[in-house]
């Protein structure tokens, strides 16, 4: 039993780009380029970044839904990458995932009863009446009721579908749940219900969360610690409170400045980043953020900064610090 439930070391995932008549490998998309971090037991860890930064890939690699190109992922001390299929199946109980798109993450031709009960059925945890009872319990936990049992996903709203997804994730009684943008496709009012539910469940079942999102306010609301990713690299990790008070990396500063303030009296300078989000297949040399950084120095173009601890467990990857 370690304090660090999940530890990732030098995780790399490259996706090959195939092209040409014979589908040769033309190049690689550097989705995740050697990142390291850890998640403590019982905490909610937030991973934030824009599109192409690799955050979704990280989540899937930890659960081994995608095979990492290289690197180590430790779950409770066990190296996940080296396990074979049978051992992996045993580990699957402990880690689950809630997906982003409520319209695509449920089998459209299966009833709710089957969707939520499937994990229990496949892994032979329960069957028959026992299964029915357990499925009903799970539905109650996420705020659904008995008459939802026999319906199909298309009869539900986005928020309800997400709840079904959460119920499915809880079926195997996991310790660790990866939440991949669970509320991005939901309306604001539904999102509020979902986030409150997730917080309640975390307390009640003592879960550890990896919360992935591009929405800073949501991440800041839900997480204890936050990591900011940019084009396959982590640029800053710190406690939520700290990073909110003081962002050290220029990219983090720009990100935080885009969050709208709903108080028209508070004026704030927005940092408008020039340039475009680079192509992960062809990342810039040195520090990946340097083309868009207004504070860059010549060193930034040549050497890639390493993630360093500034103090108080606040890590930044920037030459200026």
């Amino acid at each position: 039993m370690t304090d660090k439930l999940v530890e990732v070391r030098n995780l790399v995932k490259y996706f090959p780009i195939k092209g040409g008549i014979f589908l040769r490998t033309l190049g690689f998309v550097h989705a995740v380029d050697s990142i390291s971090f850890h998640i403590k037991r019982g905490e909610a860890f937030g991973l934030v970044g824009e599109s192409g930064c690799g955050k979704t890939t990280v989540g899937r690699c930890i659960l081994r839904l995608i095979e990492p190109t290289s690197g180590e992922i430790y779950f409770d001390g066990l190296n996940v990458v080296q396990l074979n299929d049978a051992e992996m199946r045993k580990l699957r109980y402990k880690m689950q995932m809630v997906f982003q798109n409520p319209y695509a993450s449920l089998n459209p031709s299966a009833r709710v009863h089957a969707i939520v009960g499937e994990p229990l059925l496949i892994n032979r945890i329960a069957k028959g009446e026992d299964l029915d009872k357990k499925v009903l319990e799970l539905l109650f936990k996420v705020g659904l009721s008995e008459d939802h049992l026999n319906r199909f996903p298309h009869e539900f709203s986005g928020g309800q579908r997400q709840r079904i997804g959460i119920a499915r994730a809880l079926a195997l009684n996991p310790e660790f749940i990866v939440l991949d943008e669970p509320t991005s496709m939901l309306d604001v009012s539904v999102q509020a219900q979902m986030l409150n539910l997730l917080k309640d469940l975390q307390k009640e079942l003592q879960l550890t969360y990896l919360f992935i999102s591009h929405n800073l306010s949501v991440i800041e609301h839900m997480s204890n610690r936050i990591a900011v990713m940019y084009i396959g690299k982590i640029v800053e990790i710190a406690e939520a409170r700290e990073i909110f008070l003081e962002q050290l990396h220029p990219y983090t500063q720009a990100l935080f400045s885009t969050v709208p303030i709903l108080d028209p009296d508070m004026k704030r300078d927005r940092i408008i980043l020039g340039g475009e989000v680079p192509n992960p297949a062809n990342p810039p040399s040195g520090c990946r953020f340097h083309p868009r950084c207004s504070l860059r120095i010549p060193k930034c173009k040549e050497i890639e900064p390493k993630l360093a601890d500034i103090g108080n467990e606040h890590l930044v990857a920037c030459h200026l610090l």
Binding site: R60, L63, L65, R89, R92, Q96, M97, F99, Q100, N101, A104, S105, L106, N107, P108, S109, A110, E118, P119, I122, N123, F152, H154, G165, R168, A171, L172
Partner: protein
Amino acid sequence: MRKIIRRIKWLEKARLGAFVKILENRMAILGIIILLAFAFSAVFADFISPYDPLHIDLEKMLEKPSTKHILGTDELGRDILSRIIYGTRISLMIGVISVIIGLLFGVPLGAVAGYCGGKIDNIFMGITDVLLSFPSLLLAIAIVAVLGTSLVNAMIAIGISQIPVFARLVRGSVLSLKGREFVEAAKGVGATNFRIIFSHILPNCLAPIIVQSTLLIASGIIAGAGLGFLGLGAQPPTPEWGAMLSRGRIYIRVAPHICFFPGLTIMLAVLGFNLLGDVLRDVLDPRLRMLKARI
């Protein structure tokens, strides 16, 4: 009628709301009526057929349609109407069984190819491409030539020629569903590949499979008639529409009705299945989106 509509509204609550739309489409109703007529005559052939289809009466050869023989008699004095009615059994059997063969082998082939990708996909699709490159009738003829001419062999041959069609179709559907999140979720809870293909992906491919099946029954009937015409399918004296057509060729100047009625029947059967297939296609796919129009 009211009662039926009320019943149908209830069915609409279940996913069978599709049927409501089928019945709202006049073409579909025509198609269904035609098909019901054929099904009825196939099942109750013994009861509704006025004469024994195999009964030869040389005194009544080549008689034009009359009150005694509604569709006339053929070159051996057999009643054409009776032969057509009994022929329904054979043609429908050919159509349905060939499609069943196509489904049984084509669907798993396509599903596995689409899901696994890579070499397996290439090999399976290579086989499919070879089969598809033959004109289907020619392929059927070749297979019958190998197996020998009989009704059963005709069905097998046509079935084989339909396998690649289903394989391609299913492969396409599987490819498009493979990347969806619910498949990932199933992997995440530990489902085996087999389960994913058969419990998760295939049930969502049913729509195009059903549509294609109805259309292929129609083409199976034509193929069967074609083989029969060439003498490669059902052997005489079995009443088969295509064979009847073929036999009647010689007499077309004297007694055109021997060719005309079997031909008309083939056309009607194919029409019925095509109409049904078309409407099913319209109804099964956008169904869910129309009912739950989001603004």
